[in-house]
């Protein structure tokens, strides 16, 4: 019986603490896991006397599915840019007009008029990056700026390459590699895509996340990877280099939006404005190690990030990077079929 009494007591205590709030207001942020700097949250809480609650998700699909179902009590969500139009179309976002906010002047030119949110009526930049390849120089010293690293691995890398299981990114990188356009439905191109992928798969070691660790340890000699993750791996394993595939590679930006059914709209807007402050944006970057799109934030960033090759795209390779929209259903159905074929 003691056990029961103990449980009820603990449960009651826990329920009580979640209901109580010592601060003026509250703010519920729904963000990717291990992506939000606790220092940033603490600073915001102290400045505005707001109690911030952080809840994690692991994928854009989970986040959209949950928010669409409704009732979960989130105020802010941080989807990847190409998902924002879906949120807007489904009427899930509040038009908070960040473009009229005080700190909007700090947003870099490049990120003001983005295709997924023209003129920034809904979202504020969080972090942006590229999806490319990471290679361990000790195994392979040739050209790394190509998708051939995983689509036609050089002999030294056979059986040592990892591919992250991001269907949309991988299929589109392969489309670029065989000379097609993002979201294409051209059967000729897609046939080449399938054949390239199916032929490459036996040369892969795995299709998995967690690339930072395995790059550091040398378990992966090469992998499709994000730039920030490669940066963190290089800090501990200097042999790791990042490549921007010249055939074409995806750019992405995660964007902070306020939900239509938010209960703490004012605090959410304060937060949007707050993170456009260069000093605060630098806090975001120093945690997850990606660039943030706020002018002047570099000055507040850690030394090791300044001039890092993973964060500064070489000029001749800048044009190869592009934002890939969420492809239409007709295209996606074919991609899923190819993906199933690949992973069967």
């Amino acid at each position: 019986m003691h056990l029961i009494r103990l449980t009820t007591a603990t449960a009651a205590a826990l329920l009580a603490t979640t209901a109580l709030s010592f601060a003026e207001g509250e703010l519920n942020i729904y963000n990717w896991g291990n992506y939000t700097n606790p220092e940033l949250i603490k600073k915001f809480e102290e400045k505005y006397d707001v109690k911030v609650t952080l809840t994690d998700y692991d994928s854009n699909t989970t986040a959209l599915t949950k928010i669409e179902a409704g009732g979960s009590g989130f105020d802010i969500v941080v989807p990847t840019g190409n998902w924002v139009p879906i949120y807007v179309e489904k009427g899930l976002l509040l038009e908070t007009r960040p473009d009229q906010m005080e700190n909007f002047k700090n947003v870099a030119e490049r990120w003001v008029d983005v295709p997924w949110d023209p003129g920034r009526h809904y979202t504020v930049p969080w972090q942006w990056g590229t999806t490319g390849v990471a290679v361990n120089k000790t195994s392979y010293s040739g050209d790394v700026n190509t998708s051939a690293i995983f689509l036609d691995p050089p002999e030294e890398l056979v059986g040592k390459v990892n591919v992250v299981p991001e269907m949309n990114d991988i299929i589109n990188m392969t489309i670029f590699y065989v000379g097609g356009e993002a979201c294409t439905e051209d059967k000729e191109v897609l046939k080449k895509v399938r054949d390239t992928l199916v032929a490459a798969k036996p040369k892969w070691l795995s299709m998995d996340y967690g690339t930072t660790d395995k790059l550091k340890s040398g378990e992966y000699q090469a992998t499709v990877n994000w730039n920030g993750s490669t940066f963190r791996a290089r800090l501990e394993n200097p042999e790791v280099v990042y490549g921007y595939p010249k055939e074409g590679y995806p750019l992405w930006m995660d964007a902070v939006a306020v939900l239509k059914d938010a209960k703490n709209v004012e605090n959410a807007k304060l937060f949007q404005n707050f993170i456009m402050e260069p000093e605060n944006a630098a806090l975001i970057s120093s945690f997850a190690r990606y660039a943030n799109g706020i002018k002047g934030s570099e000055a507040f960033m850690p030394e090791d990030m300044k001039g890092a090759p993973e964060l500064d795209t070489p000029e001749d390779l800048q044009a190869a990077g592009q934002f890939i929209p969420v492809c239409p259903k007709s295209a996606r159905d074919i991609y899923t079929a190819i993906w199933t074929e690949l992973q069967k």
Binding site: E68, L190, L205
Partner: protein
């Protein structure tokens, strides 16, 4: 207490009715909870399997059988011919094979372990029982990563084997079906040990010790005495291991390296990146039906035996 004895048969009929009512009443709270917290909402999934997929998630309310046809037949994406969906069959077969092997491995390790625990004296039994469960108080993901640490190329097992001079090159265990099997057997072991323990523990070993002279050898003791005792435990344990391994998701992803899907990953793909909810729904309903038929078969057989 002078009550007229009722007619023979009447009492039995009344008893029978009370018995049925009592049994239903006892089961009712569990059924209600399941209806609200698991089975009821599944009706939504059943309905979804007959709808068209929505553009980004969910469904469009247009009835169709497409999702059911898609399980077995797929239109070739390139020449548009209708063929058997061999990718789906491959995935189903792999899941069944790995789940069966997992069940066998857990029986091989679980039976002796449960037997060992059940034959400990009194309080020591609880101690050993806790010893079995404590590793599972650590989170599934933490455990899976710990296994990864043991079996990877530079991991403990390979280092030891190399130091002992048994192998010269590290064994590539990670990212193979073997890794998935090791992981699943580890994760599902308590699901086998605990029901087995519960079944064996009720047994009075003194009786057998007295009576085993009847049988000439150990093998006969094993077959005639021990097998009947452990059988309900093995059946319960096998259900608890086999069925969840069919839908396993985390272990194949982390240890198998995600190159080859199991049903769980495939259904997850439909609800996640593929965003084809109706296909995901029809696949799950099919899985549900297969398992249900297997269970019904088991109930039939076990009731016939117990009533024999």
């Amino acid at each position: 207490m002078t009550r007229k004895p009722p007619e023979p048969g009447v009492l039995e009929a009344r008893l029978e009715a009370t018995r049925v009512k009592r049994n239903w009443l006892l089961s009712l709270p569990a059924l209600v909870l399941l209806l609200v917290g698991a089975s009821g909402p599944l009706l939504i999934v059943l309905v979804y399997s007959f709808m068209e997929p929505g553009d980004y998630s969910g469904v469009v309310w247009k009835p169709t059988f497409d999702a059911w046809v898609q399980i077995f037949f797929s239109r070739d994406i390139f020449d548009d011919t209708l063929g058997l969906a061999d990718a789906h069959l491959t995935i189903f077969w792999r899941s069944v094979r790995l789940s069966l092997l997992t069940t066998l491995i857990t029986i091989a390790f679980g039976l002796p372990t449960a037997y060992f625990i059940a034959t400990r004296p009194g309080r020591a039994r609880v101690f050993w029982l806790f010893l079995i469960t404590i590793p599972f108080w650590t989170n599934l993901l933490v455990r899976t990563f710990a296994i990864l640490e043991m079996i990877r190329s530079e991991g403990l097992i390979n280092t030891w084997l190399q130091n002992l001079g048994l192998i010269s090159e590290p064994l590539q265990i990670m990212y193979t079906d073997t890794a998935v099997l090791i992981g699943m057997a580890y994760v599902y072991l308590p699901l086998m040990v605990l029901p087995l323990y519960a079944a064996i523990e009720r047994f009075d070993f003194r009786l057998v010790e007295a009576g085993y002279d009847l049988y000439a050898n150990r093998w006969q003791v094993l077959r005639r005495v021990i097998l009947p005792i452990v059988k309900p435990g093995i059946v319960a344990g096998s259900i608890l291991v086999f069925v969840p391994s069919l839908g396993a998701y985390v272990t194949p992803r982390v240890l198998g390296g995600g190159k080859n899907m199991m049903i769980g990953n495939f259904i997850e793909l439909q609800f996640g990146q593929g965003r084809n909810w109706p296909l995901g729904s029809s696949l799950s309903i099919l899985l549900l039906l297969i398992v249900m038929v297997a269970l019904l078969f088991y109930v039939r057989v076990s009731t016939r035996e117990s009533e024999r």
